[in-house]
Symmetry: C2
Subunit: 137 residues, 2 copies
């Protein structure tokens, strides 16, 4: 497997609305995508474009959101995960599992509409890592 | 100010040597730059290229390294900061200070040989943020 594009850095926030204002007014973001709910992941999502990548703002959605714990430890929000692209999600899953890395669940549709999975940070140098199949278009 | 390129994601590690092996063998990195000491920042540094950005591996250098505390809280390492490019470091400093963000010290030479500063995470949605002047070449 080759290291793919850094698709995005996932940033948890208690308020996407406030974070959008911050990225627009302080960071100078020119392209902020429309926020949307991703109920299967328990998050509300908003992509902010940089010239070469994206920031994925994620806010808890529902009582069982997986990022409640992160925000309890980091009430102001913070860096949550890093996401790399791969050409084939199933090959990537077999690759990581073959190297002893704990893949968290089966591939499922992620925020960009393609299949994704997460790899446990304990096997990734402490970095929660999302692997996503590159969109075809 | 316009949001610039995501130059790199800074990842703290207790061992750059082990992290290089991980990024090469598990993540599939094809371009791993030569590690070097950056004594003014108290870190050893190694850049790993992705097709569109970089991961900056940082390991403590010396007793007073600013990342000892981070590694005490995260012994396996983890995401430490995010770095964006700007065309003019002094304009950027005035911009952030004018918006009430705490800039940590004066601009100084960073790992890419251009001027950088950090902005306190408390004013940046919990994200320790490095601002670097884009290399001219």
């Amino acid at each position: 497997m080759k290291l793919g594009r850094l698709n995005h850095v996932g940033v948890a926030t208690p308020s996407i609305e406030n974070s959008i204002a911050f990225y627009r007014d302080v960071m100078g973001a020119e392209v902020v995508r429309e926020p949307f709910d991703l109920p299967t992941q328990g998050v509300k999502v908003c992509f902010v474009d940089t010239p070469n990548s994206q920031i994925e703002l994620i806010e808890p959605l529902g009582e069982s959101s997986p990022i409640h714990g992160f925000l309890a430890r980091n009430p102001a929000g913070g860096q949550h995960h890093v996401c790399y692209e791969v050409p084939d999600i199933h090959e990537a899953k077999a690759w990581f599992e073959g190297r002893g890395c704990k893949v968290l669940g089966e591939p499922r549709i992620g925020a960009h509409g393609t299949l994704i999975f997460f790899v446990h940070p304990k096997d990734m140098g402490g970095v929660l890592t999302e692997i996503m199949e590159t969109p075809k278009h």
